[in-house]
C-alpha cells in the first residue's frame, strides 16, 4: 500500500487491466481454496508445499500459509531421516532466499527463515551471515535483516568485536548509516563496559543467556572507548555535516548522565505536621516501599503524591499523626527508607525549630552535567573546538549548533550561558519548524542554571524572570523553595508538577500566558499569588487555589476573568482566606 503512483489511463487500458485482474483472481482463489481444503483434511504432502509456495511467492504476508508450511515441515521431520530433513529444510531456505529477493521486507519470510535456521539439523551459520552481508549491501537500512543478523550472531556465537568490525566497515564505506551507528550503541557496552568490572569475554553468552538488564545499566561504555568513538563520529560529521545519523549518535555519546538512585531530600514541618520526600527519579511510594521511622519507631503513614494526576512522582508527602512532633521543646529524629533500593536519609528536627531538612548537596554541581570525569574535560574542550571550526564553515548547520550547546553545557553551563542563548536564537531561525522544541530545551537549561546559582547562594528563593521560559521542569529540585519568581515569561500553565513546591509561600508569575493553575494544589504554606496579566478566563480556572488554606493575597489584574460579573462576591465564597484581592 505504499508508493503506488496514481497513473491516468484510458478506458480501454482500464478494461484490459480489469480482465487481466479477473484472470489472476480466479487462479489465486483456486489455489487458496485448494490450500485451505487440504489443510482442513490434514493433508501434509509435497503438493501442499507446492501450492503454498506458489501463493507465498507473490503474497508473502499471507501468514496462515507460512503456518501451514511449518506444520507440514514438522510433520516431515517425524517421518523422514535426518539427511532427508536437512535437504527439505535447505530447499525451504532457497525458496525463502528467492522470496526475500522479491520482497526483502516481509515479516513472514524473515520469521520463517529464523524458524527454519533454528530447526535445521546441521545449520550453516556462515552462509546465513553472508546472506545478511549481501542483503545489507543492497539496503543497509533493512531492519528485518539487521534483526535476523542479530539472531544469527547470537545463535552461532560470533564474537562481538567481529561484529563491531563489521560496523566499522559499513560506516567506513558510508557514514550515513543510522542502523550501523545503532548497532554500535548496543555492541560497545558489551565489549567495553564501564569499569570497574573487567572487560567481559568477547564471545556472546550461549543461547540460554538471561535477558539483558534494564536500560539503566546496559548503555554505559568505558571512558577510553568513548573517546575513540568521539573521534570516529567526528570524522563522520566533518565528512557530511548534514548527516543526522552521526549527530544522533554523538548526542547519545554526550548525554548519558545517570543519577545515583537515592532519596535526595527529606523535609519535615512541625507546624503542618508533614514530611515531604524527594527521590532522584519518579517512583510510586507504595510500590517501592517508602518507609518512615520517627524516633526509632516505624510509622504507619499514608504516602500521597503531591497531585492526584501524578501516579509516579519524585516527591511524596505524608501527614504525621496529630501531636507526634508538635511539642516544640522536643527534638525528633526521622529516617526515610527507600526499601527497594536499600537506601535511606536521616533528618533531625531540633528543639525550638519549626522545620528542618536534610538534602544531598554533593551532587548539586553534577546534577545536570555529563558523566565524563573532570580530567577529561580537556577532551570535551577539544571536541568543542572542532565543532566551533565546523560551525565557522557551516554557520547555519543546526546539528552543529545544537551539539555546541550540549558541549558547552557539559563543560561549564554557567560560564557559557550567554553564548548558549545566542546559539538558541540562531537555531530557532534556521530551523523554525522546531522552534517550540528549542524553546523548551532552552527553558530547561535556564532552569538548571538558576538551580545551580541558587545552590551556590544557599537561598530558598528561585528567581527566573524574563528568560523566555515556555515550560517548567526539575520542580522536584525546588522542594524547599519558599519564594519563586517566574514573571515575564511565556508560560501557559502551572502544571501538576508545580505542586512539588511544598514549602512555597510566595508565587510571582505576572506577565505570562497562564490559563491553567492545576499545579497550585494543596500547597500548605502558599500565602501570596501574583498573576497580573495572564490568561485566567473563568472562575473555574481558579478552583485549585481553594485547596491552599493560607492564601491571603491574590493579584488577578489584567486577566480575562477580571471582567466576570459579581466576581468579588464569588471569589469571597471560593477563597474565603484571601484578604487582599487585586482585580
Amino acid at each position: 500500500q505504499h508508493g503506488r503512483v496514481k497513473i491516468k489511463s484510458t478506458a480501454q487500458q482500464e478494461e484490459e487491466k480489469r480482465k487481466e485482474r479477473e484472470k489472476k483472481l480466479k487462479v489465486y482463489v483456486a489455489a487458496r481454496d485448494a490450500c485451505f481444503s487440504k489443510r482442513k483434511e490434514g493433508i501434509m504432502d509435497d503438493e501442499a508445499l507446492q501450492l503454498t509456495q506458489q501463493l507465498l511467492s507473490s503474497n508473502p504476508d499471507f501468514a496462515t500459509l507460512w503456518n501451514y508450511r511449518r506444520e507440514i515441515l514438522m510433520h516431515m521431520e517425524t517421518v523422514k531421516d535426518e539427511d532427508q530433513v536437512q535437504k527439505i529444510y535447505e530447499t525451504e531456505l532457497s525458496f525463502l532466499e528467492s522470496c526475500l529477493k522479491v520482497n526483502p521486507k516481509s515479516y513472514g519470510s524473515w520469521h520463517q527463515r529464523g524458524w527454519v535456521s533454528a530447526r535445521l539439523p546441521r545449520p550453516d551459520w556462515a552462509r546465513e551471515l553472508s546472506l545478511c552481508d549481501r542483503c545489507l549491501s543492497l539496503d543497509d537500512r533493512n531492519f528485518h535483516c539487521w534483526d535476523y543478523r542479530r539472531m544469527v550472531v547470537k545463535m552461532s556465537g560470533v564474537p562481538v568485536d567481529q561484529e563491531l568490525g563489521f560496523t566499522d566497515r559499513l560506516i567506513g564505506s558510508n557514514f550515513s548509516n543510522y542502523s550501523s551507528w545503532h548497532y554500535r550503541s548496543t555492541l560497545l557496552p558489551l565489549l567495553h563496559p564501564e569499569s570497574p568490572e573487567p572487560p567481559s569475554p568477547s564471545r556472546e553468552p550461549p543461547r540460554s543467556s538471561p535477558p539483558p538488564s534494564p536500560p539503566t545499566q546496559s548503555h554505559r561504555v568505558c571512558e577510553e572507548q568513548l573517546l575513540k568513538e568521539y573521534e570516529l563520529v567526528q570524522n563522520a560529521f566533518f565528512t557530511d555535516p548534514n548527516d543526522q545519523s552521526a549527530w544522533f549518535y554523538y548526542r547519545w555519546l554526550l548525554g548519558r548522565a545517570e543519577r545515583e538512585e537515592m532519596i535526595s531530600c527529606v523535609y519535615v514541618s512541625r507546624e503542618v505536621e508533614r514530611v515531604a520526600v524527594a527521590c532522584s527519579r519518579p517512583v510510586n511510594a507504595q510500590s517501592v516501599g517508602l518507609l518512615l521511622v520517627l524516633d526509632g519507631q516505624p510509622q504507619r503513614v499514608e504516602w500521597r503524591s503531591v497531585h492526584p494526576q501524578l501516579k509516579h512522582s519524585p516527591v511524596w508527602i505524608c501527614d504525621l499523626p496529630p501531636g507526634t512532633i508538635s511539642d516544640v521543646v522536643n527534638e525528633h529524629n526521622l529516617t526515610v527508607h527507600w526499601t527497594e533500593k536499600h537506601t535511606h536519609r536521616d533528618c533531625a528536627l531540633y528543639t525550638g525549630r519549626s522545620e528542618s531538612w536534610c538534602r544531598d548537596s554533593a551532587t548539586d554541581q553534577e546534577l545536570f552535567r555529563s558523566e565524563l570525569s573532570v580530567e577529561k574535560t580537556s577532551v570535551l574542550q577539544s571536541e568543542l573546538q572542532s565543532c566551533n571550526q565546523l560551525q565557522e564553515l557551516e554557520p547555519l548547520n543546526k546539528w552543529c549548533l545544537l551539539t555546541i550547546i550540549l558541549l558547552m553545557r557539559a563543560l561549564d553551563p554557567l560560564g557559557y550561558e550567554k553564548e548558549t542563548l545566542a546559539h538558541f536564537r540562531t537555531l530557532k531561525e534556521v530551523d523554525s519548524m522546531r522552534s517550540a522544541y528549542y524553546s523548551d530545551l532552552c527553558s530547561r537549561f535556564m532552569i538548571e542554571n538558576t538551580i545551580l546559582k541558587m545552590e551556590y547562594a544557599e537561598v530558598r528563593v528561585f528567581s527566573i524572570s524574563d528568560k523566555n521560559l515556555t515550560t517548567l521542569c526539575h520542580l522536584d529540585q525546588l522542594l524547599l523553595v519558599t519564594h519563586i519568581n517566574v514573571s515575564c515569561n511565556q508560560l501557559q500553565q502551572l502544571p501538576p508538577h508545580f505542586a512539588m513546591l511544598q514549602c512555597l509561600e510566595v508565587l510571582e508569575a505576572d506577565n505570562n500566558s497562564i490559563e491553567d493553575l492545576e499545579g497550585l494544589h494543596h500547597l500548605p504554606k502558599l500565602e501570596e499569588v501574583l498573576l497580573k496579566n495572564n490568561k485566567i478566563s473563568t472562575l473555574a480556572d481558579l478552583q485549585p487555589l481553594a485547596s491552599c488554606p493560607k492564601l491571603k493575597r491574590l493579584d488577578l489584574r489584567g486577566n480575562p476573568v477580571a471582567g466576570t460579573a459579581n466576581l468579588e462576591v464569588e471569589l469571597a465564597q471560593l477563597l474565603p482566606s484571601v484578604m487582599h484581592l487585586l482585580l
Binding site: 503456518n67 515479516y107 550503541s185 548496543t186 544522533f248 530545551l441 501538576p496
Partner: protein
Amino acid sequence: QGTQVKDVIIKPEAPSTLLLDRHADYIAAYGSKKDDYEYTLSEYLRMSGIYWGLTVMDLMGQLPRMNRQEIIDFIKACQHECGGISASIGHDPHLLYTLSAVQILCLYDSLDAIDVDKVVEYIKGLQQEDGSFAGDKWGEIDTRFSFCAVATLALLGKMDKINVDKSVEFVLSCMNFDGGFGCRPGSESLHVVIIYCCTGFLSLTSQLHQVNADLLGWWLCERQLPSGGLNGRPEKLPDVCYSWWVLASLKIIGKIHWIDKAKLRAFILACQDEETGGFADRPGDMVDPFHTLFGVAGLSLLGEEQIKPVNPVLCMPEDVLESIDLKPELLS
C-alpha cells in the same frame, strides 16, 4: 556530495481543504468491491482493514452507513477454539487481528458477541517468561505484540489477568540510545510504529515516567520534513501513516507542540484524492483505507473540528473510550 534530504514537493493545485464527504463515500464503497483482485489479496489482514474503515467512518460521524450485523457475524465466525481471532475465515488467529476485532466490537458496543473470557485466556497464554508476547502460537516475539496484548485487555477491562510488571520490564529492555524502542532487545528504533506501540504500551500500563520524553520527543520532531510531512525514520520519505504514528507518540509523551502543526496539516490535506476520495501515503499516490484512517485521525489530533476527537493511544474515537471508562495515561 552530502546527504540529500528525501522529501516530496507539494504542488500548488494539491487539495488544501478537507473533503470529508468524499472520504465517507470512498470507505462506504470500498467494502462492496469484494470480488476485486487486490481486495482478495489483502484478505490476510481483513480484520484490521475493517477496523480502519469503521474507525474512520466513526470519526467522521458516518458509522451508521456500515453494515453492523454483517460485520459482527463475521467477527464471531473468526473467533477460534483457542479464543484468538483471525483476520478472516480460514485464516489462523493472531494478536494483531484479535485487537482489531475487539476494537471494532467496542465501536459497536457489542463485546458480548464473542467469548471474552476465551480471548483473555488466549492472550494470557501468549505471554512468555521474560514478559514479552508472541504474536501467535508460532512464537514470533515483538514489542508490537506487547501493545496488542495490553490494548486488547485494556479494552476488555482485564489487564490484571497478565503479569503486567514483567511485560513492562520487557518493553523497557527494548529502549534504545535515541530514546526510542526496537521490536526486540537490541533492535534499532526502526520506525515509529514500534515507538508508537511502546509509548502506547507504557501509557496503558501507566509507566510513561520511564520514557525519556525530551530525547524521544526530539527524535520524533526531527521526523518532520520541509514539506511538513513526517517520515518513519531518518533519511526516509514522508508518509501520512507515519505522520499519524509520530504525532500520536508525541501526543502521548506531551510534546505534540514540537512539530509545526500548520505545515503537517497542509501535507496531510495534500494527500487527499479529490476524484476518488480517500488519502494516499504521499501526494499523487493511490489511496487506501489504511492511509485514509491515519490521515483523518492525524487531522483530528491536530484539532480539526469537523472530526471527532481521537484517542492517540488506541486510535479510536474518545467518546467510545469514555463509554467504557478507559483513560490511558498521557504526559502533560
